[in-house]
């Protein structure tokens, strides 16, 4: 399962993050290899979102080291946009640009950041729209699509930048139950194709079937990290056991 010969896509060493007096991340260290799939779970306020938002620097860590695809995250502005273009993010609230059509949403970043031509960007966009199985919605506006469709578009939008890593911040939490599986299916396909992924989610079925490692976070710390069979069936830490009993009993 784990291949020590592979490079690390993401390295976090002793990362700390404060919001005012509140410590959101405590000495967090995590290595993610290329092609590895990580699911992060934990109670709300445990720092899971903060963790992945530090990876594409939507939050700035206060101490420690974060290296993404070989670039160390510091304050230098030029690097940030370049780093972000290699890291895709899918948000809980989709965040599709409401004033642009679906296809325009997908074409915007490739044209502005990668300087693709209009036709190149359009071809890429249609390719990914077909991947997420909604090519016919290309000329509609986000407000005309269902939640599940919007989230799939959001995934396609991130993929159009050909990222090396995909980050998912509770992608299905804002969806009605009947639309969750269509999004999870897309994410599963993506994982099968070898995309490096870090996914914050409560969908434990997804974690079991897709993840290489499951991480449990609580109060800003990584409490336990194990492959799914061990994580779910033989949790080591008391806090992990407590959390699992609370969410799996529903």
């Amino acid at each position: 399962m784990s291949d020590t010969g592979r490079a690390n896509a993401i390295e976090m060493e002793n990362v700390n993050k404060f919001f005012g007096g509140f410590q959101a991340l405590k000495n967090v260290s995590l290595s993610v290899k290329v092609g590895e799939r990580i699911v992060v779970c934990g109670p709300s306020g445990s720092g899971k979102s903060t963790l992945i938002r530090c990876i594409n620097r939507l939050e700035e860590h206060d101490s420690g080291k974060i290296v993404v695809n070989g670039h160390e995250l510091t304050g230098a502005v030029k690097d940030i946009d370049a780093v972000r273009s290699e890291v895709g993010m899918v948000f809980q609230s989709f965040n599709l640009f409401p004033h642009l059509t679906i296809i325009q949403n997908l074409m915007l970043a490739p044209r502005l950041v990668r300087k693709s031509s209009k036709s190149e960007a359009r071809d890429t966009a249609m390719k990914y729209l077909e991947r997420v199985k909604i090519p016919e919605q290309a000329d509609k506006y986000p407000s005309q699509l269902s939640g599940g469709q919007q989230q799939r578009v959001a995934i396609a939008r991130a993929l159009c930048m050909n990222p090396l890593v995909m980050l998912f911040d509770e992608p299905t939490s804002a969806l009605d139950p009947e639309m969750i599986s269509e999004v999870l299916d897309v994410m599963t396909d993506l994982a099968r194709e070898g995309m490096t992924m870090i996914c914050v989610t409560h969908e434990m079925g997804f974690a079991r079937s897709v993840a290489d490692n499951v991480v449990f976070m609580d109060y800003g710390e990584i409490v336990e990290m194990n492959p799914p069979e061990e994580f779910f069936d033989h949790p080591r830490n008391e806090r992990t056991k407590l959390f699992l009993s609370q969410i799996l009993s529903h």
Binding site: D81, G88, S93, L96, F97, T101, L112, V113
Partner: protein, 231 residues
């Protein structure tokens, strides 16, 4: 009490001769004011204190004092200062028209920049983050994401400000300009018929207001076509 309709019929064309001046004041101040407002906005949201603080002071002063006083300071007050009389702007500042446009521009610029700022603040943070996550630079995010949405949000408030601006042009009559209001005042001074003259002028202004509202309503509709289209 009789209503002198003949006087109304006679006065309206005379007052409408002033409409050219009213429109000139309105358009010039609106356009220049918008340019000023955008400049002020960029300074205000720049994040650099030496740009944002003077801007906030400027806006505070111009929104906190009556526009009539601002007009008087520029028209009656500036000539007191020697460096103004010696400057290259003197030919403009000597004329009531130039002073009126300047005062209206400075005033509307302050209001509109706050309106635009309201629009910018109304743009959902998540959308800006999505742009950042895609690797778009700060400038790209401002132009392609924030601006289109902010403009649509600011449009209703902006249309109100344009109407206010139009009403303020009537104050130009206090510094001798013969716009519609100025002409009306001279007619009333001669005929002692305030009701006929002023009420007909009121109707003219109401028509102008209605026209401005219709235009902006059309613009708002066009810009909102992507919102909840009932498919």
């Amino acid at each position: 009490m009789t209503f002198d309709f003949a006087l109304i019929a006679d006065s309206i064309p005379k007052m409408l001769m002033g409409i050219g001046l009213t429109f000139q004041l309105l358009f010039l101040s609106a356009v220049l004011g918008l340019v000023l407002a955008i400049t002020l906005l960029l300074m205000r949201i720049s994040g650099r204190w030496y740009l944002s603080v003077p801007t906030m002071v400027y806006i505070y002063i111009f929104r906190g004092t009556p526009i009539l006083v601002q007009i008087f300071i520029i028209y009656y007050g500036l000539p007191q200062l020697e460096f103004v009389r010696d400057s290259i702007f003197w030919p403009i500042l000597r004329e009531p028209f130039g002073c009126a446009v300047l005062a209206l521009t400075l005033n509307t610029g302050a209001y509109v920049s706050e309106i635009l700022r309201g629009g910018v603040l109304g743009v959902d943070r998540g959308l800006k983050e999505a742009g950042a996550a895609l690797g778009l630079s700060a400038r790209h995010r401002l132009v392609y994401i924030t601006a289109p949405i902010a403009i649509r949000l600011a449009l209703p408030a902006y249309s109100n400000d344009v109407i206010s601006l139009m009403k303020s042009t009537a104050l130009a009559s206090t510094i001798t300009l013969l716009d519609m209001m100025g002409i009306a005042r001279t007619i009333v001074a001669e005929t002692y018929a305030p009701y006929e003259v002023f009420i007909s002028l009121m109707v003219i202004y109401l028509v102008l207001t209605w026209m401005i509202q219709r235009s902006f309503g059309w613009m708002e509709k066009r810009m909102s076509r992507h919102i909840k289209v009932e498919a």
